[in-house]
């Protein structure tokens, strides 16, 4: 391939890549860095209702872009994080939260792992205790008097040889 053609293709490929990379990013201007950070965090924790494995920060879908705009609008009007989250939940349901709220419905989600961990710990404890007890139980009976006598005799015989 001729060098100029080569660089032409490379250049257009780069342009294309830049264009697609930029598709999900609108230029939002924030009054201060704290608001910008909150915007980032909120859009990363809200799930896109259409494309379910994306948050609205990453998604290119029109609905995600609308929701980003909505988050931006609310933050600029001085809404708190909770207000933004409430806004989304009343419209799209708990489903949009990547970090579900602690409620009766999500108790099993939040505390289930700890309960399982606790059960596991109890089981391990029980098993190890039982094993220790059976170990000491095995050691106790040992040899009775007659057996000890015989053992001594055998040892004595060994020494004499």
């Amino acid at each position: 391939m001729r060098p100029w053609l080569h660089s032409f293709f490379l250049g257009s490929a780069l342009l294309l890549a830049a264009a697609t990379a930029q598709a999900a990013i609108e230029a939002y201007e924030f009054d201060d860095e704290a608001t910008e950070e909150r915007f980032q965090q909120l859009t990363e924790e809200l799930r896109c209702p259409k494309c379910q494995n994306n948050n609205i920060a990453d998604s290119n879908s029109p609905i995600a872009s609308d929701l980003r705009r909505e988050v931006y609008r609310m933050l600029n009007q001085g809404a708190s994080d909770d207000e933004v989250v409430d806004f989304m939940v009343t419209r799209y349901g708990e489903f949009v939260l990547y970090r579900p709220r602690v409620s009766e419905m999500t108790w099993i989600l939040w505390y289930g792992p700890f309960v399982l961990l606790g059960i596991g710990a109890v089981v391990v404890l029980l098993i190890s205790r039982r094993r220790r007890r059976s170990d000491t139980a095995d050691a106790k009976p040992g040899l009775d008097a007659a057996e000890r006598e015989r053992l001594n005799q055998l040892l004595e015989q060994d020494k004499k040889r």
């Binding site: 209702p49 259409k50 379910q52 029109p62 609905i63 609308d66 929701l67 909505e70 939940v89 009343t90 419209r91 799209y92 349901g93 489903f95």
Partner: protein, 177 residues
């Protein structure tokens, strides 16, 4: 006692298996509507057919009706359009929400494919869509005479879906009488 403990893993397996098996037949793209049994969100938007006339949620009240969210950019909307026309001919009240669309194209479409809608709300910005929790057109809602949302369907309306919608509407009509 010992014996019974041996069955615990089997029971856990059966329980887990049941839930996983049920999960196979659940469609994850079908979301429960957060707006169910709540009044239709307030809005003030122009009518598609008469742009100078403003419409509000009060215009949708009066009798049980379907509210259909549609757009010309949505292929599935075109699919269901014929069926909506049939429903309108049967006397079903259908309100349209023209969602994030170009009004010119939308009016052209209604001229070409016939207009099943009693009224069409022009939601160019998608703000009413966000208030409703719309995440993709088409969506169809059943509202009662007081404008309370009673059912939501995401996707095209066809004969099978209509059976379900009709059941809800008949119940509403029965309750009102």
């Amino acid at each position: 006692m010992r014996r019974i403990l041996l069955f615990v893993p089997l029971l856990i397996f059966i329980g887990l298996g049941y839930f996983l098996w049920r999960g196979l037949s659940i469609d994850p793209t079908e979301l429960p509507s957060a707006r169910l049994n709540q009044p239709f969100p307030q809005f003030q938007l122009a009518s598609l057919t008469e742009p100078e006339r403003m419409m509000t949620e009060a215009d949708l009240k009066g009798r049980p009706a379907l509210v259909n969210v549609w757009a010309t950019w949505c292929p599935t909307c075109k699919e269901e359009h014929t069926f909506l026309n049939q429903l309108a001919q049967q006397g079903v009240t259908i309100y349209g929400i023209n969602y994030k669309d170009e009004p010119l194209k939308a009016r052209e479409w209604l001229k070409r494919y016939l207009d099943p809608y009693a009224e069409v709300v022009l939601d160019q910005e998608g703000s009413l869509g966000i208030d409703l929790g719309v995440y993709g057109a088409p969506e169809t809602y059943v509202i009662d005479a007081q404008g309370v949302i009673r059912y939501r369907h995401v996707g095209a309306v066809d004969a099978t879906v209509w059976k379900q919608l009709k059941q809800v509407m008949d119940q509403l009509a029965g309750g009102d009488a």
